[in-house]
Every structure is written in C-alpha cells, then in structure tokens.
C-alpha cells in the first residue's frame, strides 16, 4: 500500500532518476572533452587552489580507464532501470521482478527441496511419527517456534494453558482429537456458576466437594454440603466429575489443575468462570507441519513412544 496514491509522484521520481543518470553521463562526456591550461603561473603543476594554508590542488590527471569505469556505472544504471522497477510504480521493469515474487520463488524452492521429507512423514500415522527420532526433532522445532509460547518449552503448559505431557486431555488424546485441536483450535468456556450453585458459602462448599473428587485436601463436612449443589456442574463435568472431552469440560477427579488446585483457586473458578482459547493453526502451519507437531505432542504424552526429552538438534 503506497503512501503516495497519486501517479504524479511516480513520474516525479522517474524523471528525477532518469535526468540524474543521463546528467551524469553528459557531465562525464563534457569533462572528458575538457582541457585545462597548465604551465602558467608561478607553480605550473598546481591549479592555484590552496586550502588550510598549504593544501594545494595539483594537476594529476586520472587514468583514462577510470573514466570508462564511470561510463560503465551509467550504462549499468540504465540497464538496471530497464530490467527492474526503479522508476516508480508505473513501469514495472522488463523482468517484472517484485520482492513478493522473489519471496514466493524462494518459498517454492524450499518446498521442492524439503517437500519430499515432509511428505514422507505426512504419509506415516501419528504413532509412527512419534516413534521416529528425526520426525520428533522436526516436530520439536515446530513446537518451540509456535506452541512453546503458551505450552512452555517442555510442553508442560502454564496456568490456563494445558500441560501436554500428562495423561489428561481436555479435548481428547487420540491422534484425531490432537490433530483437530491444532487444526481447528479450541474454545472452552465455563460460565460463572456462583448463582447456579446458590451463591455465598455454597460456592466454597462446592469447591471442597470438587477437591474431594480427586482426593485432594478438603473439608469433608463442606464437601458433603457441596455435593448436591454440584448437580449444576454435572451438566458439563458429568455426575462423577469425570469431564467431557467433547465440550472441553475438565476431568475433576484427578489432581491435574488447569487454573490451580487450592480452595481459593477453585472457588474463583466457580465464581467467575473460565475461558480458554487455543487458536486454529490451519493456514499458519502446513498440513505436514501440523502432522509432525501432533506427532511430537503425542510423544510428549507417551514418553514410552520415544524419549520425550530428546534434545532438539539444531
């Protein structure tokens, strides 16, 4: 998008450029014809110009081939301006070169070079990719460049960003589900549930009940009180709090916590609700890249499939 939307500026630039190039040529030509008088005055070898008291300008003619170098630069400029777009946007140059075009060509060249390698992995199923050392290394590099910002360099996530190395999967851990998560992205939304469970102390009671599901430290009296209120949560998390991967509702019966496993944190979750977004990667990563990174993620979750800690070779 050009800041100069009027074609006038293109001609403005083109004229200045063309006049400058041709002007250099004409100036050179006139200087090559020029003769200076020497042998007059008290000091015949100088032009008579003196600076700083003793800095004199001498008549030291340049070698003739030097002038030809100047002419070559003029010819070079003319050839360059004919071939490449150097005269504003009105004349595109005979070669039709653009920086975008060059980038596209380089990407294409890279695809031709690396395409077969990616294709090889794309044809393998995910478990095989996860078991292949080179595939894992490629996946690890893609992961570090694209996924590690949220999920961490080790894939163990952070508060609000799922840990990919444990056995719990918010949206399902089978190869297809992992790939769908990456390709389409995921949006999880837990609404604020304070009112639904009765508000006030009831929220804390439900929190204790939730903690009791995984055998975490809790107050059993409050948990017992919270049990019936949990019915409101069961719509998504299931009556036993086992979660529902189809909705992204978390399994509450284990000690893996996405937003913290203290009474305070769980209370906050129930009171305010939670929202989690995983962006869609289709269009950002290619199909083969997604396949490789999905394989790597699978190897993280099932260390037996391959050494998850395998360092990524540069």
């Amino acid at each position: 998008m050009s800041d100069f939307t009027s074609a006038f500026w293109d001609y403005f630039i083109a004229v200045i450029t063309a006049v400058s190039v041709l002007g250099c040529g004409v100036f050179l030509w006139s200087q090559s014809k020029r003769r200076v008088k020497v042998g007059t005055g008290p000091d015949p070898d100088t032009t008579g110009h003196v600076w700083d008291g003793d800095l004199q300008e001498f008549h030291n003619p340049l070698p003739r081939w030097w002038m030809w170098l100047f002419y070559i630069t003029v010819v070079f400029s003319v050839v360059y301006l004919v071939l490449y777009p150097g005269l504003g946007t009105q004349f595109k140059g005979v070669l039709n070169w653009t920086s975008t075009g060059q980038h596209t060509a380089e990407v294409k060249a890279a695809e031709t070079k690396y395409g077969p390698l990616f294709d090889k992995y794309l044809k393998m199923d995910l478990a095989a990719v996860a078991a292949d050392e080179r595939g894992r290394q490629m996946g690890a590099r893609i992961f570090l460049n694209n996924c590690a910002q949220c999920h961490g360099s080790d894939g163990r996530g952070a508060r609000g960003f799922p840990n990919l190395t444990d056995s719990e999967w918010q949206w399902g851990g089978d190869p297809q589900a992992i790939k769908t998560s990456i390709v389409e992205g995921r949006t999880a939304a837990m609404p604020p549930m304070a009112e639904a469970v009765g508000g006030g102390e009831n929220v804390t009671d439900v929190a204790h009940y939730v903690l009791s599901l995984s055998g975490s430290a809790h107050d059993s009296v409050r948990a017992a009180r919270g049990k019936e209120k949990f019915a409101a949560c069961a719509a998504c998390h299931g009556p036993e709090g086992k979660g529902n991967p189809a909705l992204g509702a978390l399994d509450l019966s284990n000690k893996t916590w996405l937003y913290g496993g203290s009474v305070a944190a769980v209370t906050e979750t129930i009171t305010k609700g939670r929202g989690g977004v995983m962006p869609a990667w289709k269009g950002v990563l290619t199909e083969a890249e997604i396949h490789l990174v999905a394989g790597y993620v699978q190897s993280l979750a099932r260390p037996s499939a391959g050494a998850a800690a395998a360092p990524a070779k540069q």
């Binding site: 200087q31 090559s32 020029r34 003769r35 200076v36 008088k37 020497v38 042998g39 007059t40 000091d43 015949p44 070898d45 100088t46 003793d54 004199q56 001498f58 008549h59 003619p61 340049l62 070698p63 003739r64 081939w65 030097w66 002038m67 690890a140 570090l144 590690a148 910002q149 949220c150 961490g152 360099s153 080790d154 894939g155 163990r156 996530g157 952070a158 508060r159 960003f161 000690k255 913290g260 496993g261 800690a309 360092p311 990524a312 070779k313 540069q314």
Partner: protein, 485 residues
Amino acid sequence: MNDVDEGNRVRAAAGEVARQAEAVQSLYARRVEIYPRAKIGDHLAWFQKWRWAAVWATQLVYYGLPWLSWNDRQAVLFDLAARKFYLFGLVLWPQDIIFLSAILIIAALALFLFTAVGGRLWCGYACPQTVYTEIFMWIERRIEGDRARRMVLDREPMGPRKFLLKSAKHAAWIAVALWTGYTFVGYFTPIREFGAELLALDVGGWSAFWVLFYGFATYGNAGWMREQVCKYMCPYARFQSAMFDQDTLIVTYDAARGEPRGAGSKKKSRGELGLGDCVDCGLCVQVCPTGIDIRNGLQYECIGCAACIDACNHTMAKVGLPKGLVRYSTTNAVRMRLDARAMRRRVFRPRVLLYGGVLLGIVAALATAIVVRVPLKVDVIRDRASLAREVEGGLVENVYLLRVSNTTEAPRRIALSASGLPGLAVASEARFELGPATTVSVPLRLVAAAEAVAPGSSKVSIEVRAEDEPTVAVRETTTFLGLRR
C-alpha cells in the same frame, strides 16, 4: 603529508624549465606503461633477496596451508555453510567473532607500528599486490625478457613471434591466477574434494564464481593494473602517510651528497668538475615499479620496495664511490646528518611506544582469551509465557530453554545442575549426550519447595559441565520466579 608535498615541489621545480610554455592538458591521461628493470648485476641484490624471501614465505603459507591435515580434516578451513572455522586444533564458532575483531585490531595496529618505524614496509614486501606483481613480472621476464627487450617487443607490430610470446605470457598468468583462485576457495570448502569436483567439472555456482573472480582479480591486478592499484585504488597507501613523521624510515636520496648530478669525465675528478656523487645513470628510475625518480624526494607513489637502493649501490660500487647515496634513512637523519645510532635512538618516540604498547596488550589479551576459552557455549532462555508453575508436592517449577553448544570435535556427556535457592533441583533430564560440534536445545525444569522461594524473582545459577572434563563448565545466572501468595 609535508614530505609528499615537498617531493612534489621538488619535482615541479625540476619540470619547470620544460613547461615554461603554456600547455593544455586533459583531466584524464593515458597510462604510461612501466617496464621495471629487474636485472642489477649478476646476482640478486640485497633487497631483491629480501623481497623474494617475502614472496616465498607468504606464498608457501598461502598455497600450502589448505593442503595440511589435522585429525582427519583440513587443518585450516573456514566452513561458512556450517559456520565453523577450523584453525588446526581450534574450532571457532560465530560466537567467537570477538577473536576475529581482535585479530583485525592487531593487524591494524601492527600496520601502524611498522609504518611509523619502517615506512611502507607492508607495501614494499608483504602486500599481495606487490607479491603477485613480483611473481607475474618474473613470468613476464622469463617469456618476454627484461626491460629493454619488452620495450622493443611492445613497439613492434603484431607478428607471429610477438603473438606467440604474448599468448604464452597470458596463458602462464592465467594458469597462476586460476590456481590462486582455486587455493582461495580451498580455504572455504575442502580443497581436495573441491579439486576432484573441478576435475569432474561438477562444481557449484558460487565456488566456480569465486575461483574465476579471485583468479580474474589476481590476473587483472598483478598483470595489468600493477602500480595503478597502489596509486589510485589502495586506501592503505593513502592513510599510511598519516603514520609517517620526520623519523620514519623511508627510501631517501641524499641530495646534499649527490647533487649536482652528472656523468663526470675520465680526465677530471668529480670534485674538480663540481659534481656530486650521483652519476645520473638513471638505473634507479629504470628499476622503479611505480615509475618515479626517487631523486625528486619522497613521493606518494613510492611503495618503499628499495629497488632503487639496490640499483644505486650497484652503480656506486662500479664507479668506486661509497654506497648509500640512495638508502633507507629518515627525513631528520638526512637533514641533521645523524649517524645510524642516533637514528636508531629516535625510533623510541611516543607514537611508536604507544602503538607498540597497545599492540602487545591486545596480543596478550587475545592469547589469554584463547587459552582460557571454555569449549562449551550456553544460552539460558527463560520461558516467557509460563512464569511459575505450581506442581504436586508443594513445589514451584520454572522452565528454561537451554541452548548448549559443544565447540570441540569430541562428544561430551553433559550434566546440568542448579543452585542459588534451598532445595533447588533439576526436575527434567539432567544428563544428556552432546555430539561433536553440535548445538542442542534442551528444555530445563527447575523445582524448589514453594515455601522456600520468595514471591517475585530470585537469582539462581545453572551450571552446565562436561562430566568427563571438570574444567569444561559454564555457569549462567538467570531468574527463578516464586508464586504470589
């Protein structure tokens, strides 16, 4: 600067008579071919020997170095694609660029020092332009003959003999130039394999380009351009005058002793004729590779090759006068008639001592830096998104990405450890194999008891060491974040 001006003034004065008449001149002039004479007497003269010694020394190194081997690889190889620079036992990485800077600074300071003391020693003896010109002129002499024969040949119209001689000369030049280009590329790509590829005519575009380009530059500069490179193109030639002073060793003509010049006569002594020691044989002008007359004083064209000293000494010996009418001396020594000892004493002046002191300091610093250099490079990159994690067992966990490079050619077994907080431990894999000359990225997890870590950041250090060699260890500090309470 003043010396140059003085030289020009002397020259101007000499040419004044000839140019009394008004003349016109173009801003550009045809180059006048220079035919430096090589033969002075029957043997190589003293400074000629030195110049040839410099040619042999520099070119044995240049052409020979890529063929040496070290531990089954080329001893000196600058592998640009892999970004590894092999210098015998040393493998340098791009991170070691500081060593290159140090070497460049040393080279610059050495140039300053040698120029302040000895004038254009570099230009006269060691500069590739001088050295290759010397080699190319030797070839030219072998084929076309010395100065007089070449001048005659060039005036002749083109005939079969001339064509044959010229073709032979250029063929020989091109052969040397291409070999030079091939050697140059051999510093950047294994020279033996590259040679085999060349024989099979299966070389990459860039390698072929550099062989031809470097070869063309050698052929063009040493064969055709010669003194014009020094006169019109070389920046060193220009700024070396800033390192000159009145006590810098230069090639001088002792005008007080030599003038008035004249051939003399057999009947009368030079004294009777009122002549100085210069017999005006013109040999000093004939041997000059830049085509100047040293008797006009110091000129910017003079590259300090001392060919005129050899020539004059030869003539002086022949006519039975003392040597040294043209000699290495200083402006002050000539003006104040200093003897050699007094001249040598004046070498120790502030500028020389300063250049020398700084040069020694940097050489020592570079040597120390190379000796104590740890062949293991570590970068600790904190994960930015995940600050601190709460993990089971009341622990707090931080994640880092370690980038570890093994700059040696032997595999290493690396062990990671962390310290700085009570109970700080490495939770991820603390040991791994690191291949020879490789870089790996390793996620590192550190854990500590949550209550032992203050909220906010604490300084911790991560030690990466080679298990087989305790001296090879790097300690990096980073931050460890505690949980907010």
